[in-house]
Amino acid sequence: MPTEYAFPDNAAKTADASQELVSEKMSVAMGPSHPSTHGVLRLQLELDGEIVTKCDPILGYLHRGDEKIAENMTYNQFVPYTDRLDYLAPLANNVAYAIAVEKLANLVVPPRCQAIRVIISEMARISSHLLGLGAFAMDTGAWTVFMYQFTEREKLYKLFEELTGARFTTSYTRIGGVARDLPEGWTDRVLGFCDQFLPILDEMLEMLTRNKIFTDRTVGVGVISKEDAIAYGLTGPNLRGSGVPLDLRKDKPYSGYEQYEFDVPVGSKGDSYDRYLCRGEEMKQSVRIIRQAIKNLPGGAWYAEDAVRIFAPRKDKVLTSMEELINNFMIVTEGPQMPAGEVYFEAENPKGALGFFVVSKGGGVPYRMKIRSPSFCNLSILPKICTGVLLSDVVAILGSFDFVMGECDR
């Protein structure tokens, strides 16, 4: 008879404990080709089971050298490159860039041009938020919204195409104006789109807002506090989702935004769900702005007529007048003539504040052009909020950020 009993269970536990407790951390590369990183973002994750213990975003897979290219071409030649920054809202990028350079020239465009720019910016916002919403829904398991929003986006593309000739690489603005006036009857078609869009938007939002699966995946996930949002330089719906009511359209109005009545939705908790709600509401506000802008659309010139050395003359004048012909030649070959100086302008784009820092030494080519892209700044908070969450939450957080790599990497 043994005097002491060794309980087999305990013995086994003691023996196994040393092996069981040591679990190796796993290193996982999420991306650069991954369906939920929306392009070519790569997250180098360190996983403890299913918990993310470290998140290191690796960027640059779409770094195409836009800033260097800008130093090598005239101001108008760079407009097509701005299309490809945030390729979900190219019109808004065009507008932001044009206003930045116009600030350098101290040029004010006529009210009609401003109103056109507001209309197209807001249409771009709807188009971008729609895809952001659809992709977010798809990441969290709802395919239907993605199909619905693409149908709406196709309608927008049709309007863009009529206006600019291209579906989304629009290159519509020029320094000192826009490429051409609105086509006849276009504003009515935009209003028609708005009328049918709102019920469909409500239907799309209904599919998500009280959806149990969606709320379970997003409520309380990826919470960003007000202080963090400001410290990390977040802008756009990601900042407003955290409860900071900062909207450059309201606080630093440009292009005549002060004339329009609209609300700035803000979140209360700063989680992924709040960011989603903000985007949904912003689309409705955009429709409001578009309707006001079309209702009060001023007549008159749609380009700055006094800016003769900046905005290329009209075609009919080029063909009949020698002076205009020479002027046209100079603007095309040498670029719009700008004074020396430094300006920084940022516009409230769908993704956040898109800024252009233009350094000019005079002439038609920028000396240095820094593009402050909202996606780049928004993503910089990832290492902080993606630590300690489940791997599947990372997908939901990325979806709620609605970033685009073309702009992030430039």
Partner: protein, 210 residues
């Protein structure tokens, strides 16, 4: 409401004697010696309400300029809704460096990495100064003015793939584009539109000087 440039300057000069006004096309801008930069930025953040760091970047003022590199900080105040530009010149033209403000604003972390990557300005006391846009081990800083737009021939980031495909990060053929007329020159021959970066292309040999 943003402050008039003169007010900002006089208010700051009371505390930082070295601060001077900087010509600017829009927002108030100040020059500051590099040594005072962090103290000034901290003062602006804590006492002037500039709590939002919009952007950190650098400028290369040309190969033979001195000081060659400047660092630019753009600040925004979420309270007053005004911008402020702070510029400091780097002391060294060959190995430029600047103090990091990542401890003041975490947002500066990536901006400084980007500036280091593209312009080669080192940020002292930065927590993790790695390249961010180009790959680790890329030998140049592309936004410097002596770097050609077309690029310089280097191996691909993955040597194995480079070996199999025999591809390199070769200079882009600039044949004919982008067309840019030289600015400010009114001599007709000089002002002719031409590819600005004509260093070399696929058919023309790389010059020895680079």
């Amino acid at each position: 409401m943003s402050l008039a440039p003169a007010e900002v300057l006089s208010a700051l000069q009371g505390k930082f004697a070295q601060v001077t006004a900087r010509p600017s096309g829009d927002h108030p801008a100040v020059n500051v010696p590099m040594a005072d930069a962090v103290a000034l930025l901290r003062h602006l953040r804590d006492e002037r309400g500039f709590d939002f760091l919009v952007d950190v970047t650098g400028i290369d003022w040309d190969v033979d300029a001195s000081p060659r590199f400047s660092v630019v900080w753009h600040l925004f105040s979420t309270r007053d809704h005004g911008y402020l530009r702070v510029v400091a010149a780097c002391a060294s033209d060959t190995e430029p460096s600047a103090p990091s403000v990542a401890a003041l604003w975490p947002a500066a972390d990536w901006h400084e990495r980007e500036t280091y990557d593209l312009l080669g300005i080192r940020f002292e006391n930065h927590p993790d100064l790695r390249r961010i846009l180009m790959w680790e081990g890329y030998p140049y800083h592309p936004l410097r003015k002596d770097f050609p737009l077309a690029g310089i021939d280097v191996p691909l980031p993955d040597l194995e793939v480079g070996e199999v495909t025999r591809a390199t990060a070769a200079p882009a053929p600039m044949v004919g584009g982008p067309f840019v007329a030289s600015t400010g020159e009114m001599n007709l021959t000089e002002a002719e539109p031409r590819a600005k970066d004509e260093s070399w292309d696929e058919r023309k040999e790389k010059p020895d000087t680079l």
